[in-house]
């Protein structure tokens, strides 16, 4: 209620100023007219006097010589001026020599009898001088300019003032209106600011609510993740524990012992694959990138895919004619392709066709990309499913049939390799999953130098084993000794460095994640102080390696098999 009152007050203020201005203008106008009138009177007085003086000068001689006719002529000349009311020329004795009066009002016969000039008329008395002597008097009275003519003159001034007043009024009113509009605008701006502040508060509150919701989602996802892991691991642990228990029983037959041991190995490898996929999804899998021609890789996998997908699914490949070389972890790429293919199979319960295509695509931002797409003719995905397809442990499959980690692994692998993955799907019309990976030059790509299975019995030597975990350390020591090496085991990087400098070794096999000096730090120090001493790293997962790489050193991911270890050692000792 405060604002409207302020508004009306300014509305009153403005006209007051206008009225004052208009009154001032009118007063100024009246002043101008009065001043003009006064000036006019002065001028008339002056004119009358000048006229009388002229007459006096022209009748001087005539008066001197008493020439009435000549005086009369001079007086008649004055008649031309219509404003002259009366003229009288008197001689030295004050007797009228000649005169003229309009409207019958002639001048008196004697100078002494003259009357004061009537109101408004202007009278002037001028002595007639001849060589310093006064010889008579001229009396001249004039009427002022007719009222109508003066009125016309003042009307012009009046009109000008009226217009000025009008302009001032209009300006004043306009200004008043403008001010009013301004006030209204201010009031609206205030209201807007208030609304804005309220909106900001709401936005803040909404932001907080969203944050809480996100946190809740995160917790839900974490719960889903841990639940999924626990479920799968419990299954595997059940197999491992059960089999181990059976093995510990006395008198187990050879055939059963082998079966239980096999079950333990299989369950363990499935557990390792599970953690591998988890890490791949988390993009924390230590990758071992190499140059791979995707076309060759697909051809090599065709048999495997045929077998995996079953007889109802036909596999068709449409590969680019040129080599499609990428730099990626071979095992992960194979795993990704397999995961996609398995999903495709599950989407085609009634059978169908799987098309695998490769192509080189120019991407304006990331340069040339290799596109590996897998299309099925299955059920497709609805939008909800599509949105959650990459979520870990999200699955549409029946419990026990899928882990929900397949596409998660694909996504993690693609991201970590500098690529991308896309899903195009229409419910009922099939799905196409496209894996995009950065393209590389075709040179040096080829089939993996796969060795035949089995332990590689190459050179043996003196190995410094660095492992802070007692169990893993014992296992590795036994394994290395089994392979015929001479092993010295230490528990920390610092200790390893001392021993390596004091003693002579052929190889250092070190864990990466350890308290104090890490495996990478140890490798760096050794490279300085014992150049030429080969180092092999091993880790279950390392932030350091995941982010900055192993600096060209071989890395054996945990869990490792005797075959992998013997292979790596053989290469290191040979190099």
């Amino acid at each position: 209620m405060r604002k409207p009152r302020r508004l009306s007050r300014t509305w009153i203020d403005a006209p007051a100023a206008i009225v004052a201005a208009v009154i001032f203008l009118l007063l100024a106008g009246i002043g101008v007219i009065l001043q003009s009138e006064g000036a006019y009177r002065d001028l008339q007085q002056q004119e009358t006097r000048v006229q009388a003086e002229i007459l006096a000068a022209s009748v001087t001689a005539a008066l001197d010589f008493e020439d009435r006719a000549a005086v009369g002529e001079a007086v008649s000349a004055i008649r031309v001026n219509r404003q002259v009311r009366s003229v009288g020329v008197y001689n030295e004795q004050g007797a009228l020599i000649a005169g003229y009066g309009r409207d019958g009002g002639g001048p008196p016969q004697a100078f002494a009898d003259r009357l004061p000039a009537p109101e408004h008329a202007v009278a002037s008395e001028v002595p007639v001088m001849s060589r310093g002597e006064r010889i008579g008097t001229v009396v001249l009275a004039t009427d002022p300019e007719p009222f109508s003519r003066r009125l016309t003159r003042y009307l012009v001034i009046g009109l000008l003032i009226l217009m000025a007043a009008l302009v001032v009024s209009v300006l004043g009113i306009a200004q008043g209106a403008l001010r009013r509009a301004n006030r209204e605008l201010e009031a609206r701006a205030d209201a807007l600011a208030e609304a804005n502040a309220e909106l900001n508060i709401q936005i803040d509150e909404r932001g907080k609510a969203e944050e809480q919701l996100r946190q809740a989602h995160k917790m839900q996802a974490l719960g889903q993740l841990t639940g999924g892991i626990a479920h799968d691991f419990n299954n595997l642990l059940t197999v491992i524990q059960g089999s181990a228990d059976m093995l510990r029983r006395p008198g187990v037959s050879e055939e059963k012992r082998i079966r239980f041991a096999e079950a333990v190995v299989q369950a363990s490898s499935r557990a390792a694959a599970l953690t591998g996929q988890l890490l791949a999804f988390a993009r924390r899998q230590p990758l071992q990138p190499e140059l791979i021609d995707v076309n060759l890789l697909i051809r090599d996998m065709t048999d495997l895919l045929d077998r995996t997908l079953g007889e109802r699914i036909g596999v068709v490949t449409e590969l680019a004619p040129a080599p499609c070389t990428v730099e990626a972890d071979r095992a992960q790429l194979e795993s990704a392709l397999l995961n996609i293919a398995v999903n495709a199979r599950d989407a085609m319960a009634e059978g169908g066709q799987l098309v695998i295509r490769t192509a080189r695509r120019a991407d304006p931002e990331r340069g040339e990309m290799i596109a590996l797409s897998v299309s099925d003719s299955g059920t497709g995905m609805d939008e909800d499913t599509l949105a959650r397809a990459f979520e870990p442990f999200f699955t549409t499959k029946l419990t026990g049939k899928g882990t929900g980690l397949g596409l998660s692994q694909v996504y993690g692998f693609a991201s970590q390799s500098g690529g991308d993955v896309r899903i195009d799907s229409v419910a009922g019309q099939g799905t196409t999953v496209t894996l995009l990976l950065p393209g590389r030059d075709a040179a040096a790509a080829g089939a993996p130098a796969k060795e035949a299975g089995g332990l590689r019995r190459g050179r043996t030597g003196r190995i410094l084993l660095v492992e802070d975990n007692e169990e893993v350390g014992q296992f590795a020591e036994q394994l290395l000794e089994e392979l015929g090496h001479d092993v010295v085991r230490v528990l920390s990087g610092e200790e390893a460095l001392d021993r390596a400098l004091a003693d002579k070794f052929d190889l250092v096999f070190t864990d990466v994640v350890m308290p104090g000096m890490s495996g990478l730090e140890l490798a760096a120090r050794l490279a300085e102080q014992r150049p030429g001493l080969p180092v092999i790293l091993t880790t279950g997962y390392s932030d350091e390696i995941a982010t900055s790489g192993a600096g060209g050193l071989p890395v054996i991911p945990k869990p490792y098999t005797p075959e992998v270890l013997s292979e790596a050692i053989a290469i290191a000792l040979a190099g």
Binding site: S58, T60, A61, A62, D64, F65, E66, D67, A70, E92, Q93, S130, R131, G132, E133
Partner: protein
């Protein structure tokens, strides 16, 4: 104003009776000193400070005391008017104005001839003969009027005011 009373007296003598038909002599006597007001002499002939104009009556004097009264009433820029009566042209060199009238018309002509060559405003009367001075009185319809020979006045170095010329019954203008 000192001149007011004598002037009044002169007027009573001249104008007053004029109402009752004043004589031509009275009117002419009033006019004569006034001519000095409307004439200008060469610079060397102007009366010195305080000295009066010399109004000479050469030959016959038809005015007598009338002229003396009129001259006494006259004040021209602080100069009075002195009347001198001369029998002939001798001693007329100091005159500013001269009323010339011989006993015979021929005498008037002879006197005028004698005054020629001097800057003297000569005045004659028609009743005395046809010989004309620079100003020549005449009577028209019972009124005293005068002719002015401006050309001759100019030849003598005299200039006559246009105001006076305007009153003349006729003017012989200089070429």
């Amino acid at each position: 104003m000192r001149a007011a009373l004598p002037a009044l007296a002169a007027c009573l003598a001249a104008v007053g009776p004029a109402r009752a038909q004043p004589t031509e002599e009275a009117v002419q006597a009033t006019f004569l000193p006034k001519f000095a007001r409307y004439a200008a002499w060469p610079s060397g002939r102007q009366p010195a400070g305080g000295t009066p104009f010399q109004l000479c009556v050469i030959g016959r004097d038809p005015f007598g005391r009338l002229l003396d009264a009129a001259a006494a009433a006259e004040q021209i820029d602080g100069h009075g008017v002195q009347v001198r009566r001369l029998p002939d042209e001798r001693g007329a060199a100091a005159c500013h104005l001269a009323f010339v009238q011989g006993r015979q018309a021929a005498d008037t002509g002879r006197l005028l001839l004698a005054l020629r060559g001097q800057p003297i405003l000569t005045i004659t009367d028609a009743r005395a003969g046809p010989q004309r001075g620079m100003i020549h009185f005449t009577n028209l319809s019972g009124r005293v009027r005068f002719f002015i020979n401006e050309a001759e006045a100019a030849q003598r170095g005299l200039s006559i005011s246009s105001r006076l010329l305007a009153l003349a019954a006729g003017v012989t203008q200089r070429r």
